[in-house]
Amino acid sequence: MIRLEDIYKIYNTGENEVRAVDGISLTIQKGEYVAIVGQSGSGKSTLMNIIGCLDVPTAGRYLLDGDDVGALSDNKLADIRNRRLGFVFQQYNLIAKLNVLENVELPLQYGGYSARQRREKAEGALARVGLLDRLHHLPSQLSGGQQQRVSIARALVSDPSVILADEPTGALDSRTGLDVLQFLTQLNEQGNTIVLITHDSKIASMARRVVNISDGKIISDEPSAAPA
């Protein structure tokens, strides 16, 4: 369902060019749980931005569910982010002045759902992360782990094809981080496709498949040594 063909992302084309992604080809099937691992500067974040349709590659072809993303307009890309992708960021990226429920409803607002549908779906997603009792709290009133669960609920709410998690445990202590990871595993067992980006190979080992990246190239791609 995700198919990258010879993707390049090159900054400062010319003398000091930086090849953040240097000819990567990768296929991810529906239902997979893939970890992309690499040191900082390895190009893993750029790769994730490309997969997440937040950035466009300099060269190469990206097919998402068979659609060539490179050929799509700004509005179509926004639609894809809205319906087919769910993001979980390191810094949670919740909107501070909106309460938990409003934050989770946000993707549905842009998706054009009615107020009742939004409420139902958002409550459903918050129930899955166990935060139904915090609907009207502001993000600042929640702990880091709770905020990350809100952002997972937001990623889940529009039933995306892929959940992209960029260092989801980076800002959490190891115990809450583990909770979050176990929750992602659980989501994968329920059939969600998950792409996890991390610098920590221990965390990566929670996934079923580990792709190692260095200097914008794939150096290894194998099943996880110890699937959780």
Partner: protein, 390 residues
């Protein structure tokens, strides 16, 4: 997202930063309020002017004759004849001669204006008699030494006593007071109430001069212009020159005054509009700051599927709501201000619905206009750069 959601979002954003929103609105508030106050004052002022002119006699036509030659002349009798001959256009005429005079009652004396007029002058100029009667036809015929006095003269010479039936000295002659006029000019010295009326026939003889000024009234408000035209053609027939006379109707003067007032009010509104413009720039400024501050929020929204038009709509509507809210506060302030200024100036100032509606739509329009640039800037942000923004 639909319009309603944008509105809720805008209201939320304004609520969360009340002080800043208020300061942003201040320019619009002041602009709108000053437009309303100025337009209302100008409107009420021109209304006041019209009614003042009407009190002079709405149907009034003034004829000035300068031309004097032995063989061509127009006399009072000619004008009386014309009025009789053209009842469709003209109703009354009165010759008018004015001269300063000293008027005495025993030892009390004052200098006032002596007006020699016909018996219809009171009807032409809307003068009302408080007590007694105005000059009559028989007074003209017989050149009777009778006079009607203004209220200022009455109080100065007779105090609280009734002057009717008493006698005054005008120049060297003794006159019977037959009437006192109602106060119209505030009872002030040198005003409308500071004068004495005597038959014009007598005044002509006393001053040994011809009357050069005639007041006429048109038969009907709609006939003023045709009556003035008739008089012009009649006078032209006699004098064969435009320079010998002047015919002016109150209507024409009113039109001129209104034109002048209109020009003044557009200048004032123009000045107020500049403050609206400045207010609009204030809005643009703060929206640009707000876009920069919320870069990360814009990035998050974009990563969740917000399209350019969603982001643009959000910021434009926020600007428009801020501006329209400022406009509403400005309208309230303007209405209050208009009433206060009206009380201060001593006449009723009523804010016109047009001024209010215009002020409101202009302020909302300014929000949209000046909100567009920051909003469009926000919508074009690259989602990744926006997400990484600290």
């Amino acid at each position: 997202m639909n319009i309603k959601q944008y509105f809720l979002l805008a209201l939320k954003s304004i609520r969360t930063s009340k002080l800043r929103s208020f300061l942003t609105m201040l320019g619009i508030i002041i602009g709108v309020a000053s437009v309303i106050v100025l337009v209302s004052i100008m409107n009420s002022f021109s209304g006041e002017m019209s009614s003042t002119f009407e009190s002079f006699g709405a149907h009034l036509i003034t004829v000035n004759i300068f031309g004097r030659s032995s063989n061509r002349t127009v006399s009072a009798e000619d004008l009386y004849e014309w009025v009789d001959a053209y009842p469709d256009q003209l109703r009354f005429v009165s010759p008018f001669i004015a001269s300063p005079v000293t008027v005495k009652n025993g030892t009390k004396s004052l200098t006032t204006t002596l007006n020699g007029t016909g018996e219809d002058y009171d009807k032409i100029r809307n003068k009302e008699v408080e007590n007694g009667r105005f000059l009559g036809y028989i007074d003209m015929e017989r050149r009777q030494k009778v006079c009607v006095i203004g209220s200022y003269v009455a109080t100065e010479l007779f105090g609280a006593d009734d002057p009717v039936g008493r006698q005054v000295r005008l120049g060297g002659d003794i006159f019977n007071v037959v009437g006192v006029l109602k106060e119209t000019g505030g009872g002030l010295q040198g005003g409308d109430d500071d004068c004495v009326f005597i038959p014009y026939t007598l005044a002509l003889r006393m001053f040994r001069q011809m009357s050069g000024v005639y007041y006429l009234s048109a038969s009907d408000g709609n006939q003023v212009d045709s009556a003035a035209a008739l008089l012009r053609s009649k006078l032209y027939q006699v004098y064969q020159s435009d320079d010998a006379y002047r015919v002016a109707s109150m209507n024409e003067m009113l039109t001129q005054v209104n034109e002048l007032l209109g020009m003044m009010s557009s200048i004032l509104v123009g000045i107020a509009a500049i403050s609206l413009l400045v207010g609009g720039i204030g809005i643009m400024n703060i929206m640009l700051v707000s876009v920069t501050e919320r870069t990360r929020e814009i990035g998050i929204r974009k990563s969740l599927g917000a399209k350019r038009r969603d982001i643009r709509g959000q910021f434009i509507i926020e600007a428009a709501v801020t501006s329209a809210l400022g406009g509403t506060l400005g309208i309230l302030l303007g209405i209050t201000g208009a009433y206060l200024v009206g009380r201060l100036l001593g006449f009723t100032v009523v804010p016109t619905p047009t001024a209010i509606l215009m002020a409101f739509s202009v302020s909302a329009g300014i929000g949209i206009l000046f909100g567009y640039f920051p909003a469009s800037k926000a919508s074009k942000l690259n989602p990744i750069d926006a997400l990484r923004y600290e």
